[in-house]
Amino acid sequence: MKYLALVYYDEAIIDAMSKTEWDALNAECYHCVQSLKSSGHFVDGAPLHPVATGTTVRVRDGKAAVTDGPFAETREQLAGFYMLEARDLNEALSLAAKIPPARLGSVEVRPVRELPVPAEAE
């Protein structure tokens, strides 16, 4: 079963890190990904640039409105994601617990669903 693990942390924690600490965190993440790949749990994933580099699009009444920054101000910001293949939720949770930023912020684990194929597309 596929689960999306959304990694959140307060960017202020990262901003307060030295370059050495930041490099060390990234190295941990790299090894985490390698480990998940070799165990067959890694489907996809990526770290993201900070939330200030984001842009939000909303279409209302056929008009596209574009605003700077994330969709909402939150205490912790989305930092990256992993798409995991796991047997069940408990396995997904124990994999998510190993994601290095889990000790700094929060990892939301959500089951992925299949988009039903509409009748006309069959």
């Binding site: 079963m1 047997r87 069940d88 939720l89 408990n90 396995e91 949770l93 959500r110 089951p111 669903r113």
Partner: protein, 411 residues
């Protein structure tokens, strides 16, 4: 035969359900299978006689009927064909229906229902419904919610178990201690529901108490943690007094008036032993301390022999572990027993002044009793009236009314 099947349902339906959930991988399917199995029993056993192993028969029949259901639905949704095949082929006969597996299934069910991925209310509602077979009405009463709210919580919880694929398993050793906390909480709630109905005529509902105790024993077997011992001890000690809590007319009997020779000595001894073990571990928590308080009461040969000082000391410890206004109220009553009613009045009025317990009938009942002992008639009457405004349980209501009548008539 009907009576035999009814008592079999009471004794075995939860075990059968727990096993069916494992075999079928779905709560609703398992429940359907369970119902169909018992219906089949009612239809066939009068002719064929009760099978040698009724539980195994029910599990096997329930599973068969459930798979049959899926096959019928597969006519309209062919994706169900695969599921029916898997369920039918993969599992074969029910292994070891008499052995450990059955209890393991119950533990799987308990831990699944208490999974932290479910909200606290969902955990409790689901466990009470699936493990203890309470109706949504009974659960709603226990939580001061409405039956539709409870029903919805249960539906959502099952949906989450399905959609997020919460596995039907006992947690790995590393996760076990933290997963245990929510289990204990649910067990205690079940016991309380059985020990004193939140409204209505019965003071105690014995089956639920036995159920909670049985659940705690199961969990203790798996995980001999001090707090599990503490919770089991607490329930055993309360349960030991159940025969004396009300008299033949269903009237409430106060602790100080209970016939202690009717208390279940074996249960008290067992509870006492568990408390000592748990305290000795130094890793105990609130349940253990509450059990220790109950043990002090149970150890007093007469009410007058009660060591109130030790009880107050234990309440102090309990409040440090678990600050709560109800515990503070109980402590105040204990203080009053040792130091006199005036001390109790000061403590409880302070709680009420700080905004706590204002809707809790026992606070006013305690105040009324203290005033009564101090011959402060008007204040006693006023507080009995307040308590009556808030009381929900019939035997408690009658008790308070009697006290009030005595004061009013002695004008």
């Amino acid at each position: 035969m009907q009576a035999r099947i009814n008592s079999l349902y009471k004794a075995e339906s939860r075990r059968v359900l727990a096993t069916l959930i494992r075999l079928l991988g779905d709560f609703d399917l398992a429940e359907e299978g369970l119902q169909e199995a018992f219906m089949a029993a009612m239809a066939q056993w009068p002719q064929d006689g009760v099978p040698e192993n009724p539980r195994a028969w029910l599990v096997s029949t329930g599973r068969f009927k459930a798979i049959d259901q899926i096959r019928k639905r597969a006519r309209y949704d062919t994706s169900l064909d695969d599921i029916a095949e898997q369920l039918d082929a993969g599992l074969g006969a029910v292994d070891d229906p008499e052995g450990e597996n059955i209890e393991d299934d119950r533990l799987r069910l308990v831990f699944t229902c208490c999974h932290p991925s479910l909200s606290a209310e969902a955990r409790t509602a689901l466990t009470l419904r699936e493990v203890c077979d309470l109706t949504t009405e009974e659960i709603a009463r226990a939580f001061l919610a409405t039956p539709p709210t409870v029903a919805q919580r249960i539906v959502r919880a099952k949906a989450k178990i399905r959609d997020a694929a919460i596995p039907y398993e006992v947690p790995a050793p590393a996760q076990l201690p933290e997963r245990l906390d929510s289990v204990l909480q649910v067990i205690y709630l079940v016991f309380n529901e059985g020990y004193s109905a939140s409204s209505g005529e019965e003071v105690t509902r014995l089956d639920l108490c036995a159920e909670a105790i049985r659940l705690a024993r199961l969990v203790l077997q798996l995980l001999p943690e001090p707090e599990v011992q503490g919770l089991l001890a607490l329930m055993l000690l309360h349960d030991a007094r159940k025969m004396t809590r009300s008299n033949a007319d269903g009237e409430l009997v106060l602790l100080e008036d209970q016939d202690r020779s009717q208390w279940h000595r074996e249960q008290i001894d067992e509870g006492d032993g568990l408390v000592r073990d748990a305290l000795a571990s130094r890793r105990f928590g609130p349940y253990t301390v509450q059990a220790a308080i109950a043990a002090v009461h149970a150890g007093a040969v007469t009410a007058a022999d009660t060591d109130w000082q030790e009880i107050v000391a234990l309440y102090d410890l309990l409040l440090r572990l678990q600050p709560s206004p109800v515990i503070a109220l109980n402590r105040a009553v204990a203080v009053a027993m040792g130091e006199g009613p005036a001390a109790g009045l000061r403590l409880i009025n302070a709680l009420l002044d700080s905004g706590q317990l204002r809707e809790y009938h026992l606070a006013y009942a305690a105040l009324a009793d203290f005033h009564r002992r101090l011959a402060q008639r008007e204040d006693a009457i006023h507080n009995y009236r307040e308590a009556l405004r808030l009381v929900r349980q019939e035997p408690e209501r009658r008790f308070l009314e009697k006290r009030l009548r005595q004061l009013v008539e002695n004008a």
